[in-house]
């Protein structure tokens, strides 16, 4: 039994914290909301220098050959400072390619010379029977893209993380009704990426339209294709818990220094208990990150459950943490100048991406019901 971080993992986390601390990411996030899109720092060179683009790519292709949990540690650091970095799109894409024998561009993707984005296609659950995509609006899930025998790829995907500016789009399409991995160059004919921003300017999103674009069909297994979706869930969870850490730290510090009626506000049970609630949800989320990180390699059959549970709890934790951050700070927490609204905006948008926190919560139930049926 050992759930402690290894020395290498502690180093990876500390190095990420150090590298990101050189940028004023929160200030930039606020300016970007004011319409100054160029205010956001380009963190991709920093990511390349640190070797993050190749975290999940094997050493034989120039990557680091590390595990999901290592990638989650890096995403946690990104979440702490709301860093606008394109790993959420890139890393699950590389996981699909790594599981294929015919993957294009791996070396360039490992160094970060090229950047990939994951086309999020959700594997079947027991209520929704097929592979599906997030709709542009409403609750009706869309059909997965399709690819024909000659590799012509068609379909639409909404709110794809990090799609704008990506060199390669990697995901899942149905070929004669069966899921296969697909990779398509963003510059190929029939590929259209429309950049969209919603509420949190640090999150780069794109609507992707594919009309007979020439794609490479990959030989990744169906399990590997589903696992990429769940990996994305685990990465969002890790990133969210990182944001919760900062929100809690800042709130606790303020509760110790702000006085009312002659006492620090943190001495009042009402404030103390709400901060303890954030801690409780954060610790639960962190425990589930360990579960997901362990299950990815140690119990792949449980990875969908573990990643979905992590996403569910972490999404709720970030919502609670951001709201508590605002309320502990009183009126000032709801002003434009404060950092709290940045975490609140991050929470609001994150909870609606990649199938949504609610989708992950439903999958927790679905996985457990399936386990009960099998028992």
């Amino acid at each position: 039994m050992n759930l402690a971080l290894s020395d290498e993992q502690v180093f990876l986390r500390e190095a990420a914290r150090g590298a990101l601390s050189r940028f004023k990411t929160l200030e930039a996030a606020r300016k970007a909301l004011d319409g100054k899109a160029d205010a956001l720092p380009d963190l991709w060179p920093t990511a390349c220098e640190a070797g993050w683009p190749g975290l999940l790519i094997g050493e034989e292709h120039g990557g680091a050959g590390l595990d999901a949990f290592d990638a989650m540690l890096v995403l946690g650091e990104c979440g702490r400072v709301i860093a606008p970095i394109q790993l959420l799109g890139h890393l699950p894409a590389t996981a699909v390619l790594e599981a294929s024998s015919t993957a294009p561009m791996l070396e360039e993707l490992a160094t970060g010379e090229k950047r990939a984005a994951f086309l999020p296609v959700c594997p079947p659950g027991d209520v929704h029977g097929g592979w599906s995509v997030d709709p542009r609006e409403g609750m009706t899930r869309g059909d997965a893209p399709t690819v024909d025998g000659s590799g012509k790829l068609s379909g639409t995907l909404a709110f794809v993380p990090d799609a704008p500016g990506a060199d390669l789009l990697v995901g899942v399409a149905l070929q004669d009704g069966k899921p296969v991995g697909v990779a398509v160059e963003a510059g190929a004919g029939g590929v259209q990426v429309e950049a969209v921003t919603r509420y949190d300017a640090t999150r780069s999103l794109g609507h992707v339209t594919l009309t007979g674009a020439q794609a490479t069909v990959l030989d990744a297994s169906e399990e590997a294709l589903a696992a990429a979706w769940h990996l994305a869930q685990a990465l969002v969870a890790a990133e969210s818990i990182g944001s919760v850490e900062t929100a809690l730290d800042v709130s606790v510090a303020y509760a110790k220094e702000r006085f009312t009626f002659g006492r620090a506000i943190g001495s009042y049970q009402a404030v103390k208990h709400s901060l303890t609630e954030v801690l409780r949800q954060m610790e639960n989320g962190r425990s589930l990150l360990y579960y997901a990180g362990w299950a990815r390699g140690g119990a792949p059959g449980e990875f969908p459950l573990a990643a979905s549970a992590a996403r569910s709890v972490a999404g709720q934790a970030l919502d609670t943490a951001a709201r508590t951050m605002i309320s502990v700070h009183g009126g000032i927490g709801a002003t434009w100048e404060h950092d709290a609204p940045l975490y609140f905006r991050r929470a609001q948008l994150s909870r609606r991406l990649l199938g949504g926190t609610a989708g992950a919560t439903d999958r927790v139930a679905g996985e457990l019901i399936a386990q009960a049926d099998a028992a």
Binding site: S267, L279, E283, L368
Partner: protein, 405 residues
Amino acid sequence: MDLDDTPEQAAYRAQVRSWLQEHKSEAPILDGPDAIRDEDEIIAARRAWQGKLAEAGLAGLTWPKEFGGQGLGPIDQVICNQEIARAKVPGILDAIGVGMLGPTIIAHGTDEQKSRYLAPLLHGDEVWCQLFSEPAAGSDLAAVQTRARQQEDGSWKLSGQKVWTTNAQFAAYGLLLARTDADVPKHKGLTMFIVPMDAPGVTVRGLRQISGEAEFNEVFFDDVELDEGAVVGGVGNGWGTALTTLMFERVTIGLGSEGLGYNSTRFAAAIAADETARRDPEVRHKLGEIAAELLAVRFTGYRTLTALQKGQIPGPEAGLAKVTIVNGAIKAGDLIADVLGPDALAEDSQWAYMISFLPGLKSAGGTEEILRNTIGERVLGLPPEPRLDKGIPFSELRSKEGAAA
């Protein structure tokens, strides 16, 4: 990162498993058609089984060898608990004595006390109970009013009332926190005693709860005489001695919380059995939220074990797991009753029992509010609330409280 046993742990697990395999036919049967029904017979059978486990080194295995233990660590205790659960046999009867009270005597008792009490405790020959909580002293334990007065010959006379006492109805001894000096601040005037439960003046009364069952007792003391040798840890040192017990209580609860049976697998199975519920988005959402948090607690437990394995002591944050489990189980009971309807509340239903038990469990081992205070202060470093009781003799505190009311 792994959940695997080390080679030493695997060897220990194999040793425990093979003993249980060989001896499980000797264990008392508590469930199913062949279960023992008579309460006294159950207790007798479980005491005998505890004796066998102790003989085999499977009880009190974290105790030092000189007191009958194995000198093993908390991880070995967890392995042993897991194997006992896997073999579907009962564990020891006196988990409170072996897990909390025996270790307190080992830490603070005299040589005479250790040689007289520890071996019969470990073997189940003498069951113990914990006499701490009172009607007016729960979360604020140092407010106990049960009074012990020393007589001229050095003996003590004890009067007062304790409550929420598990196993008191068949216990041979109790470890009791009493006030011995009311003229000093409340934490200072306390002393810990060993009380024979068959002494004249001790009355045990069952305390029925919401379910109708009496799992706890009230215990009354009416001029009970104790000799000088009954004091544990020195006169006036009762608070420090009690903190030792409470530390072991946290460890016991932390390592045993999965044993309560409040887990995602059990709750999901109840929902899965209903064709409509298992497809209902609202039911699924509630189940998903409850189950995700309960799964988290399992891995919080593994994190605690990792810390213990490295020689660190679990802090008060382990208390957050209890908050999650209790509130998760309350929500699960509510959801399952919504799905099953009034039959979930039938007297013999496992869910009725759970639903009845949980409101009280919310306060057991420290109320949720006190846990959140403690964790807010010790883990997050938030300042404590101002207190009325600091530095004031206990005898004056009551009138001060009266004036404030």
